[in-house]
């Protein structure tokens, strides 16, 4: 008899030693990537001076891109989001990214406007 109130699905994701080896290799590669990026960031931060220069402009954006790169590796490999179903991946990432982009635009834009409208009264 088939009971329809019992379903099977996996709570766990067991793998054997062979697969484990591959996964561990991937983990160590990601570790290396994260370390190298962090090292590069600190090096650039210590060397390149802040200011209204082109070199700082590019450095700033390089920092942002490197950070997103690091975040991608952490979420996809360490948090295993890369191994989850596509649907789950999008349910988590898409609303968040859309909302944050909107918030970023609105806050930084408004911040500039507020600073220009009430100089010296904000952040005094």
């Amino acid at each position: 008899m088939i009971r329809d109130d019992i379903y099977e699905y996996s709570l766990d994701a067991h793998h054997d030693e062979e697969t484990g080896k591959k996964i561990r290799r991937k983990i160590w590669i990601v570790t290396l990537v994260l370390t190298v990026i962090t090292g590069a960031e600190v090096f650039m931060g210590a060397i390149i001076k802040q200011g209204d220069t082109w070199s700082w402009f590019f450095t700033k954006w390089a920092f942002v891109i490197m950070t997103i790169f690091k975040a991608f590796f952490i979420v996809m490999t360490f948090m295993h989001l890369g191994d989850e179903r596509k649907g789950l991946r999008y349910v988590i990432l898409v609303p968040y990214i859309l909302f944050i982009l909107y918030l970023m635009f609105i806050c930084l834009w408004e911040g500039k406007a507020v600073g220009a409208s009430w100089p010296a009264t904000y952040a005094g």
Partner: protein, 362 residues
């Protein structure tokens, strides 16, 4: 990670539907939802920080100027300490993911080993943050000064050692002719021994309260101590001073630099102005040496909130480790609990990656 079914689960106790959404368990999906909402909280905080930074007309503190110290080694190491903290957190994230991987092989020893490593890394990070806070609150030797034109400037250079205070007018405690020196007292109360760093402490307190008076003609400074006594300050000269203007006044613009003998003279005059609050040391919720007041508020709140996450993560990891040691989790036939705490732990690392960029680098 979707795998093959190993166990039958009563539909009522879990989802009630015929399929598990996205082939994940209830607990894991809820952990993800929690993490998304927590990420929005941190995102909102960092946005508010960005808003303030864009709205201010003062110079924002620069990471490599503000955080350039190492324990036992002093100043001159821009961003090295925070890089070390970041590295510790990344490594603890790696050990956590190794614990999760060991769990997938039902390797109880492996899980135990890597979880212990993760907990140690977590404690190291929280400890490092405590040191960072201490340093941030304590401030630099020079402090931030308010110049005669109303502008504010931070100071870089070599701070001359304070040798002693020689009492010129007796107070309640110290007698005339006595000397305050870091070291041991003698019997006939000619020398008052102080602990290391105490002269500096008294000097900074007096400077902030306007109790130091600089004589322009002789170049000597006198200090009024807590007990009302007055003393002559013997101090080596400050050298290679550089004043960097952070808030504009009548004469100076933001980011303008003042160097050389002029800077040294201006600094002495501010410290010895005899006016209260002309110099600020360190940061707290009322004043901030490094720049706009909001910077200190955001620093304390965001790194504090993150540190609280790390701390609770360590506690959760310890609880799960205890369950692993007792064999509770092994008997369940899967190590999903380790995977769920792992998600939280990686999230904490993820947040730090962003805090690191926006607080320290940019």
């Amino acid at each position: 990670m979707a795998g093959h079914a190993t166990k039958q689960i009563d539909a009522k106790t879990l989802w009630g539907g015929k399929m598990s959404p996205f082939s994940t368990s209830y607990g894991k999906l809820m952990m993800w939802f929690f993490l998304v909402s927590d990420a929005l909280t941190f995102g909102g905080l960092l946005m508010a920080y960005g808003f303030t930074r864009h709205a201010t007309d003062q110079a924002w503190p620069i990471g490599e100027e503000t955080f350039n110290s190492l324990p036992f080694l002093g100043h001159g190491y821009p961003l090295i300490y925070v890089a070390l903290m970041t590295f510790i957190l990344i490594v603890s994230s790696v050990t956590m993911v190794l614990a999760v991987e060991a769990g997938h092989r039902m390797d109880r020893r492996g899980v135990t080993k890597w979880m212990i490593a993760t907990i140690i890394g977590g404690f190291f990070f929280v400890g490092s943050q405590a040191w960072e806070w201490y340093h941030f609150i304590h401030g630099s030797e020079f402090g931030k000064i308010e110049l005669a034109d109303g502008s504010q400037a931070i100071v870089k250079g070599h701070f001359g050692d304070i040798e002693n205070f020689e009492i010129t007018k007796a107070g309640h405690h110290y007698k005339e002719g006595g000397k305050l020196i870091e070291g041991k007292s003698d019997k006939d109360k000619k020398i008052y021994g102080l602990e290391e760093g105490e002269l500096m402490h008294m000097y900074q307190h007096a400077a902030a309260d306007g109790h130091i008076v600089y004589n322009k003609e002789t170049g000597a400074s006198t200090i009024t101590l807590h007990d009302g006594s007055e003393a002559k300050i013997s101090k080596e000269r400050n050298e290679h001073l550089e004043l960097i203007v952070k808030k504009k006044g009548k004469d100076f613009k933001v980011n303008q630099k003042i160097e050389g003998a002029k800077a040294e003279k201006m600094y002495e005059e501010v410290i010895g102005s005899g006016e209260k609050n002309r110099v600020i040391y360190g940061a707290n919720l009322q004043q901030n040496e490094y720049g706009p007041q909001q910077y200190a508020q955001f620093f304390f709140f965001i790194t504090g909130f993150h540190g609280f996450h790390v701390f609770s993560g360590v506690i959760i990891n310890i609880l799960i480790l205890m369950m692993v040691l007792k064999g509770t989790i092994h008997r369940r036939g899967h190590y999903e609990m380790v995977e769920k705490t792992g998600l939280y732990w990686h999230f904490v690392d993820l947040v730090w990656v962003f805090v690191f960029t926006f607080f320290y680098l940019i």
